[in-house]
Symmetry: C2
Subunit: 149 residues, 2 copies
Amino acid sequence: MRIEDEIKQNKFHSEYQKLAINILFTNQWLTTNTTKILKPFGISPQQYNVLRILKGQSPNAISVSNIMDRMIDKMSNTSRLVEKLRQKELIERVTCEKDRRQVDVKITKKGLELLEKVKTEMNAFKTISNNLTEKEAKTINELLDKMRG
Amino acid sequence: MRIEDEIKQNKFHSEYQKLAINILFTNQWLTTNTTKILKPFGISPQQYNVLRILKGQSPNAISVSNIMDRMIDKMSNTSRLVEKLRQKELIERVTCEKDRRQVDVKITKKGLELLEKVKTEMNAFKTISNNLTEKEAKTINELLDKMRG
DNA sequence: ATATAATATATGTATATACATTAAATGTTT
DNA sequence: AAACATTTAATGTATATACATATATTATAT
């Protein structure tokens, strides 16, 4: 559905202004869908992001600031997100011996198992790949990168 | 900067997965920039969205649910956002006489003046139009609409 | 060696968000 | 008209977020 109809606004100041609004709206659409998929698993999209970062490093541990660098939302409160995941036993947290300021974080077996289950559900959300060709997806990716400069 | 470098992830499962992450990241980038511009004016991006919707209807008033339909983020707590704006005297709120469940909301002179000042600052944020041609912006708009189905 | 700066993480706080529930007014059915 | 359903808005509540500040540790400068 056209963004014009989604937010009942039929004129935009420019194609650029429309693009800004379209990105905000599309993000909302995507986040709502993801949140719904994750809800039965008891984790938020941001916690999911952290788990996937940790899976990428597994079986190694990485520091909290290292996680932050890799997060989609840089402004997140990574310490508290990590603590939430620890309470659910999805990750482990140990003070680094070499630099005692750092905290080494590692995904647990339980965390990896949860990600596997989530993956099945995520694969069911095929709207994007149903509606776009791979070439079109690539075009958007290149233009978004160009846009941010 | 390429999304790969922004989040230090050099391989993606597919162009589609990369696109989902790119949209989330670009949204974050855009929201951070907008929040910074709005901060000196004491309003959040969501409050700004409501003000612009009301400006679009001005000098007429519209109901809270009507505002919600036009908002980028449909899940927002429009009642509370409206109340915040009323406290700042940027909008007025009157119970509708014809249907006493409804509340008619209208932007004030002060609200319109604030939007004018914000506009000047927003115009200074030219990153998008500097980095993309109008045709490229249009391409993304069309593809995002297509993507959501 | 001591003072100062820089770094890593955690905490405090106000606001925002998601979602469920409530309350009031209006519509619909019988 | 009475009972029930729907709509509109507000409120309650738990969690998340943004941003400032604090604390501990390590690095650097004097």
